[in-house]
Each structure stands twice: as structure tokens, then as C-alpha cells.
Amino acid sequence: MIDKSVGSAAEAVADIYDGATVLIGGFGEAGSPIELIHALIDHGARNLTVVNNNTGSGHVGLAALIENGQVGKMICSYPRTTNSMVFPELYCSGRIELELVPQGTLAERLRAGGAGIPAFYTATSVGTPLAEGKEQRSFDGRDYVLEQALKGDFALIKCERADRHGNLVYHKTARNFAPVMAMAARTTIVQTGALVALGAIDPETVITPGIFVNRVVTVAEPAQESKLVAQGRIYP
């Protein structure tokens, strides 16, 4: 029998190893798998390469993972946001590496990684500093840059409901990067608001089919990052 549910966030992230590339869902706090990130802080794997659109806020979640010195490199589109102090400080003092990627290129590189496309061409960034050093080519008279697939060893994502096969549905704009990250990671770890019976999710409405998911842990009442930040919380 296929049962991808695991008992705890700690168990779910236990095999994340030093030096792994970890794709972390979320756009700001929407979709951020904060309990899985905190479990990864407890776990302690280091020298991680983390892919996320941003770099977290305050001293919880992704920002706390960075602050804890576990992240050697960030791949993201927008590393500074409101209440984002941790990454800027480390970056300015040269203690963390940054690969800046346009947001749509980041999403498409992940999708390519998940879809077995090693590289593709896009017009995004042509003529800008972010195209420097990249191969360029013209199709039908327009210039494009060659972008490479991006894959993860692990993905940490959050969803609304899941079943034991790992079929997922999301909540509003918390969906964002999660589906492409689930595709792009060798091991996809999900925190779900509810684990429902097999068949309870209409097959027409499944957003991430279970084939892209390895482990599901239920976190019925996930913390809200902005509330923790407002409360001045620091993890751990």
C-alpha cells in the first residue's frame, strides 16, 4: 500500500544532508512551509543551497534558517523585502552567496528541471546585466538567452489538503512555486493542513499529482509568519 504520510516534520526532513539543494515553496509568507523549515533548523543540515523567491522575514522560517548559518547560497529573484534583515546583513558581509534570477526564469527553470528539459531559451534579461556570461541566440530575429534547468535534492512545500498518494490542492496564492518545486525535486516533502481520504479530492481538481510527492506531514494549524514577526518571535 502506498502511504506517503509521515508522523512528524522532524521525521520528514531527517535525511536532508549537508550541501543539499533545497527548494522551499512560498512567495513571501504565502505558501511558506514554516514548520518544515523549523524542523530543518532543528535537524541542523548545513551548507545548503536554498531556492526561494525571497529570503524570509524577521527571525523565523526561512530567515531563521539563514540566520542559523545553514545556508551557503540563495537562489532567488527578490532577496530584500519588508522585515528582511537577516539576508542583507550576511550578504553585505560576504557570508552568503546569491544567484539572482528573474522570477519567471526561476519558475521556468524549475519547471524545466521537473519536466526533463535541460535548457530552454527566453527573452527575459536580454540586454541586461543578468544576461552577462549567458549564451545568446536569435530566433525569428529576436534575441534570447539560454537558461538551464534547476533541480533540487529536496523540496519543502505547503498545501491545503493532501491524500496518502500525495495528491495536493493548495490555498489561493499560496500555490505559487510549490507545484514546480514538487516536480523539480528528487524528494518532495509536503506539510498539509489536512490529510484526507483517498478519493476525497476530485481528480479534476488535483493540482500536484502524487507522483511528484514523497512525504506528507499534517500540520493542521500552521503558524502565520507575519504574526510571528509582529510578535518579535525568534526561532529556535
Binding site: 512567495f27 513571501g28 509568507e29 504565502a30 505558501g31 529573484s77 527578490y78 532577496p79 530584500r80 523585502t81 519588508t82 539576508f87 542583507p88 550578504y91 553585505c92 546569491l98 539572482l100 534570477v101 528573474p102 522570477q103 519567471g104 526564469t105 526561476l106 519558475a107 521556468e108 524549475l110 519547471r111 527566453t122 527573452a123 527575459t124 534579461s125 536580454v126 540586454g127 541586461t128 546585466p129 543578468l130 493548495y170 490555498h171 489561493k172 496564492t173 499560496a174 500555490r175 505559487n176 512555486f177 510549490a178 507545484p179 514546480v180 493540482i207 502565520q224 509568519e225 507575519s226
Partner: protein, 219 residues
């Protein structure tokens, strides 16, 4: 505000209102952060415009009423929004397929500089101590059919933002079609910056003194 009100020209609301006038019925529109966000509230009645936010929502509505906020229903500026009837949610790769695939009719962005060839700089001053952050700006200017800019005509320091060539790192080359400033509406043409409309009390000479690059009077 006092600074703005002491100057001639349009204020922020009037700039947004002027830009809104040009949005046609039925358009699919992506609005950037800042003054561009204000455009939605000024679209003339009778026009149905569908707003796209690149974090995965088409059919974005106004900010939620008190008590209806959902921190996981946000726009690209990470502000809480609503979803109108007819909305749809989708993941990031699908969202940027809409952008990159030229399905969005119009995007309205802020600017640090626009060159007379339509080059846009709006993501970085190039300062070595700044944290670079690009977001979806490069995808938008490369993919959206029509890219317009809303910006103050000059920087706080009084420097022109409309220039012959951008000194800041580019977001995209030859991408801007039209610029709405506090002083004028200006089109990008092969011959240079073409004045379309002057704000009340603004003369062509006044505008020319505050504009880099080649500025052409209304024909």
C-alpha cells in the same frame, strides 16, 4: 505631499487617473508596485479590466474589507487583495507563461530611468553595496505586449529620469511605449520622446529643461 503640492503638474492620483484613461475595455493588465497599483481604481466606469498578479492570480480585486483578510491571498507586492468572480489561481510557471507568452496586454511599471530608445532601468542603481533584487520586472518587460511607465519626471534631487541613455543597469532594452509623469504624457518614437499631452501649467520649454534625450513637441 507639501513638496508635491507646491509644484506644478499632476499629483500621484492624477497621474494614475491619466494612465487609467488609456486602458481599454477587456484588457488583461499587470500593475507594478507604487503609483501603478493606484491605476486600477481610476479605470473609467463601463470598462471591464482583468488584473493579473504574477504570483498566481488572474481576476485580482481591491484590498479586502476588514475581517476578510487572507495572508495567502496577496499580490506581487505582498499586499492582501481579493479575487473577483471569474478569477483563477495558477502556479508560477503558468503565471509567467502568460507574461512571457505575450498574453498580458499591458503592464504599468515604475521607473528609475527611461532612455529615448525606450530602454528601462527600474531594478538597481548598480551601487556595489546594494542588495540586487529583480523580481518579475525583467520577465514583464520582455513579455508583455505593451509596457508603459508611471514615474515622477525627475528624481527627488531634480535629475531627469528621461534620459538619452540609462546610466543604471537595464531591466530591458527598447521596451517602453509610453511614459506618464507628473508633467506630461510622452510616447517613445524612433525620433525620440514625443510629447502627447502636457500637464496643466507645464510648457514645452519647462518640460525640455527637465528632460534628458531628444524631446519632440506635440505635432
Amino acid at each position: 505631499m507639501s513638496k508635491e503640492s507646491s509644484r506644478i503638474g499632476w499629483n500621484r492620483e492624477a497621474m494614475a487617473k491619466r494612465a487609467a484613461l488609456d486602458i481599454p475595455d477587456g484588457a488583461y493588465v499587470n500593475l507594478g508596485i507604487g503609483i501603478p497599483e493606484m491605476v486600477a481604481q481610476y479605470v473609467p466606469e463601463g470598462r471591464e479590466v482583468i488584473y493579473h498578479t504574477e504570483n498566481g492570480l488572474l481576476g485580482m480585486g481591491p484590498p479586502p474589507a476588514a475581517g476578510e483578510e487572507d495572508p495567502e491571498l496577496i499580490n506581487a507586492g505582498k499586499k492582501m487583495v481579493t479575487a473577483l468572480p471569474g478569477a483563477s489561481y495558477f502556479h508560477h510557471a503558468d503565471s509567467f507563461a502568460m507574461i512571457r507568452g505575450q498574453h498580458i496586454d499591458l503592464c504599468v511599471l515604475g521607473a528609475m530611468q527611461v532612455s529615448e530608445r525606450g530602454d528601462l532601468a527600474n531594478w538597481s542603481t548598480g551601487a556595489s553595496d546594494a542588495i540586487p533584487a529583480v523580481g518579475g520586472a525583467m520577465d514583464l518587460v520582455a513579455g508583455v505586449r505593451t509596457v508603459v511607465v508611471i514615474t515622477q519626471h525627475c528624481t527627488n534631487a531634480g535629475e531627469p529620469k528621461l534620459v538619452d541613455a540609462c546610466s543604471y543597469p537595464l531591466t530591458g532594452k527598447a521596451v517602453v511605449s509610453r511614459i506618464y509623469t507628473d508633467l506630461a504624457v510622452i510616447d517613445l518614437t524612433p525620433a525620440g520622446f514625443q510629447v502627447v499631452e502636457l500637464a496643466p501649467g507645464v510648457s514645452f520649454d519647462y518640460l525640455r529643461q527637465r528632460t534628458g534625450g531628444k524631446l519632440l513637441p506635440r505635432p
